[in-house]
Symmetry: C2
DNA sequence: TTTCATTTGTCCGTATGTATT
DNA sequence: AAATACATACGGACAAATGAA
């Protein structure tokens, strides 16, 4: 899964797509934290702002949820419908 | 309508609230462009990224719509339900 | 056609604030 | 006290689309 700066899909959306696919496939497990912001910055060679846009999108979709001071956690598919954030 | 950096409501959300109120009140008229990014930056003393976050929120709500190279235009209330962007 | 100005979205690198451990 | 973690914010830069000259 490589980020491509050359095509017309924004980098933040590509990252959101990658993370969503990893959640759907189980590579990122339910109730566990996704990689930290710092890791995503270093791994993909992108800025923190861009990571934020991707995670904001995923939070909006209900895929992940913020636990302050700890990280972003994968929401179980069963709880995706409606919860604390909405 | 003043932006306040001191309270816990993010600046980008405050700006979104201001613009939404101006649209609802008719101060910003339907089918007309909202103030440009540059104007909003100078008028409120905030950064371009912060303006972007506010306008992205309003686009998502269906209040405004992007016309590339021209500006962000107020969507008539009647068309807010569903249109080109969704 | 080419050039120039305008406008937006995207992106970077850094910094700060708040909460948790 | 210190490290970790995320959201927010800044200021600058670039690409693409539009319109005017």
């Amino acid at each position: 899964m490589e980020i491509d700066h050359g095509i017309d899909t924004p980098v933040w959306r590509q990252l959101a797509d990658i993370l969503r696919a990893q959640i759907d496939s189980g590579e990122l497990q339910e109730r566990r934290a996704i990689p930290t912001k710092k890791v995503l910055i270093e791994r993909h060679g992108i800025s923190g702002d861009t990571v934020d846009k991707a995670t904001a999108q995923l939070r909006e979709e209900g895929y992940i949820r913020l636990v302050f001071g700890r990280g972003l956690f994968v929401v179980p598919a069963a709880d995706r419908g409606a919860k604390s954030g909405e």
